[in-house]
């Protein structure tokens, strides 16, 4: 009996596995399940989360703006900042922060539909955040190159590159000064920037490798959105406070999804181009991580580890302006690609593209 029960359980588990693999593979190709799953009665689990999210957005669109401006996520955000503050740098340096796989992401990231695109959100103001500064040098290389200086220089170069297309570019610091993480978050939010890009350099104490990686902040809220929506639909109309919760979720969905896209675009451009200069460079991909700056800012935000100061050759390269300009250029390409897919290039950028 026990064995039979076990076998039945086991085979059900296996069936689940088969279905999951199938769905994952469909998603990789950007497809939706077609016939196989269609025949079943529609349950909320069967509806793709992105569709559900869209429905929620459309339902709640009128109230949307009020909430974003009135409430935002500020209360939620600032309470987390304090507790996370001390961990931040160690996380930046940890070589094995969890990696992202699309298995996790895919429900929210459908290549065809971007929520921001649906709303045609415009991007005008970009905030660049050169990591560290002042008394906080960040990491440093064997011949003494400091992260704070390299990050600032690359940030400035990126700024002037983006300004050519009439984007308004603001920096969290212009000089070698210490700026707290909270201050950076406040600056970004009060300036109402549309994108936030933090620039850092990596350090791998135990390996000679040069790596590139990009972080974005993400929460595993999709399950919750689903559950909440499921609950809500049994006894609609929406209660006020419940609805607020949903809207907050949607807001972070958008930030999350857009951050992911931005991170992916920058990482791809930076890696494929640097690879031509340094064939050994390794692609550590894009990852979710709870960095304060990414959590706190209200706009799509990424943290790019553009290079690796522990690698001697790389340190030498970083000491040439030429190479720093190249890095800025590749980040710029990543940003512009992201904006192009979003349909949010400025006229100038479009013209440059066409010409």
């Amino acid at each position: 009996m026990e064995i039979l029960k076990y076998l039945r359980k086991d085979s059900r588990f296996r069936q689940k596995i088969h279905k999951k693999i199938f769905l994952d593979n469909l998603r990789i190709m950007g497809k939706q399940p077609y016939q196989t799953l269609k025949k079943k009665p529609i349950t909320y689990k069967g509806i793709s989360p992105i569709l559900l999210t869209l429905i929620i957005i459309l339902l709640g669109y009128t109230v949307y703006h009020n909430y974003i401006t009135l409430q935002g996520e500020k209360t939620l955000v600032s309470s987390v900042i304090e507790s996370n503050n001390s961990e931040v740098h160690s996380q930046i340096q940890a070589p094995h922060v969890q990696r992202d796989s699309l298995k996790f992401l895919s429900p929210m990231v459908n290549p065809e539909i971007s929520i921001a695109k649906v709303f045609g959100l415009k991007v005008k103001r970009i905030m660049i955040d050169p990591g560290h500064g002042g008394s906080d040098p960040g990491t440093s290389g064997i011949i003494g190159t400091k992260e704070k200086n390299v990050a600032l220089d690359i940030a400035k170069r990126l700024k002037s590159r983006l300004e050519r297309y009439n984007y308004e570019v603001i920096m969290t610091r212009q000089e070698d000064e210490a700026v707290s993480l909270q201050k950076r978050v406040e600056l970004a939010n009060s300036s109402m920037a549309d994108l936030f890009i933090s620039i850092h350099l990596n350090y791998l104490p135990t390996r000679p490798a040069n790596i590139i990686e990009t972080y974005y902040f993400g929460l595993s809220f999709d399950e919750e959105v689903l559950k909440l929506a499921e609950k809500e639909n049994t006894d609609s109309p929406y209660g006020h406070s419940e609805f607020k919760k949903i809207l907050e979720k949607v807001n972070s969905t958008m930030k999350y999804e857009e951050s992911y896209r931005l991170a992916d675009s920058i990482q791809r451009s930076l890696f494929t181009n640097i690879k031509r200069i340094d064939s050994e460079v390794m692609d550590f991909g894009i990852k979710r991580a709870p960095f304060v700056v990414l959590l706190g800012v209200e706009m799509p935000s990424v943290l790019v580890e553009v290079s690796c100061l522990s690698n001697k050759v790389e340190e030498l390269r970083l000491n040439t302006w030429n190479y720093r300009e190249k890095i800025a250029h590749y980040i710029e390409i990543g940003i512009l690609n992201y904006l192009r897919n979003k349909g949010a290039l400025t006229h100038e950028a479009k013209r440059t593209e066409e010409g």
Binding site: I17, H18, F22, M29, F104, T206
Partner: protein, 341 residues
């Protein structure tokens, strides 16, 4: 029932493992083949005459490397980026592997390819594209997961795959592993080669080593922990082959990857509650080429002792665990899913 039988005849299910150094295929007709992940094209017209083929694979390609443009197109299970011909090389390699599996003329082929647990979407798509020209339907799946499926270890276990470029960890606990269940570290087989190489040129500055030789030494004599044997290898010195004792260097190089493995293992186990920890600790499985290092299972077991007793085993057939598991998965996945891919 009838339909099932028919299905089995008409379709060849294959599992493919694309490794940095070796690739393997397991097929439902019983064929299992592996091949070094090298692809070479003759450099020019004359080279083509010399090798007598338009494309060479694996060890044959290595042997003829002077006449070839040689590619090792995979890195960590994905197509290396930046070099145009890599994609083509991967395609050829996959085509070659599938041909080795010996499908019948009118047989459909359904394939599952193991990819690194953390492979990015673009890479997964690239692999799928490369395979799709040769098969009727293809899916990708996390490689360690495929291994666990094949070994029937979906319950509570930790799989540690020691490959050339990475050591991949995958925690199985009755669900499909997610990000938190999987980790990779970069000190693996290639790293041992580098360490051994540098120890040897330091100890024997007058002898001529190369990396290929060093890797072969490793693959024949690797060990960790205590050993009463001395390891002697013949290396030419000023043209004459001389015996060299490399016992200590071998041990040091092989042991160099262990601290990170042990640290990661205990980190990953520590995240679970004590009851579950005990189950995992009794099911630590080593696979990949690096699991062939003599004494590695006992060494890890000893090192983990401070966390209580545990059991560390090596899989029997490290070359085929992933492809075998992928093939079994392919066989088990219902036809309706395959049809829709």
């Amino acid at each position: 029932m009838k339909q099932k039988e028919q299905r089995k005849d008409d379709i060849l299910f294959v599992g493919v493992d694309l490794g940095t150094s070796r690739s393997s295929i397991s097929a439902s007709n019983g064929t299992k083949k592996w091949n070094e992940s090298y692809v070479g094209w003759p450099k020019d017209f004359i080279a083509a005459k010399v090798v007598g083929k338009s494309i060479l694979f694996g060890s044959e390609a290595l042997q003829n490397r002077l006449s070839l443009d040689l590619y090792r197109p995979l890195e960590r299970g994905v197509i290396k980026e930046g070099i145009e011909r890599n994609e083509e090389a991967v395609k050829e390699l996959i085509g070659y592997l599938i041909q080795l599996a010996g499908p019948k003329e009118d047989q459909k082929i359904y394939a599952i390819v193991g990819v690194p647990a953390d492979a990015m979407k673009v890479n997964q798509i690239a692999i799928k594209k490369a395979v799709s020209g040769f098969v009727d339907s293809v899916m990708v799946v996390s490689a360690p997961f495929a291994a666990a499926y094949g070994l029937n270890l979906l319950g509570n276990s930790l799989i540690i795959d020691i490959g050339a470029g990475t050591v991949d960890f995958c925690m199985m606990h009755g669900t499909i592993p997610d990000n938190d269940d999987q980790k990779a570290i970069l000190t693996a087989g290639d790293y041992i080669d580098e360490q051994l190489f540098s120890y040897l040129i330091e100890k024997y500055p007058n002898s001529r080593f190369n990396r290929n030789m060093v890797r072969q030494f490793k693959e024949t004599h690797s060990f960790v922990g205590d050993s009463s044997e001395t390891i002697k290898v013949e290396i030419p010195v000023e043209g004459k082959p001389l015996n060299h004792d490399i016992t200590n260097e071998m041990r040091r190089a092989c042991e160099s990857i262990l601290p990170a493995i042990i640290e990661t293992t205990s980190e990953m186990i520590a995240k679970f509650d004590p009851e579950f920890q005990i189950k995992i600790k009794n099911n630590i499985i080593l696979s990949g080429g690096g699991s062939k290092i003599r004494g590695i299972d006992n060494y890890i077991k000893d090192a983990l002792k401070e966390f209580g007793d545990c059991d560390v085993r090596c899989v029997e057939d490290p070359l085929f665990v992933v492809s075998d598991g992928a093939m079994l998965l392919a066989k088990d996945i219902p036809e309706k899913y395959w049809a829709e891919m």
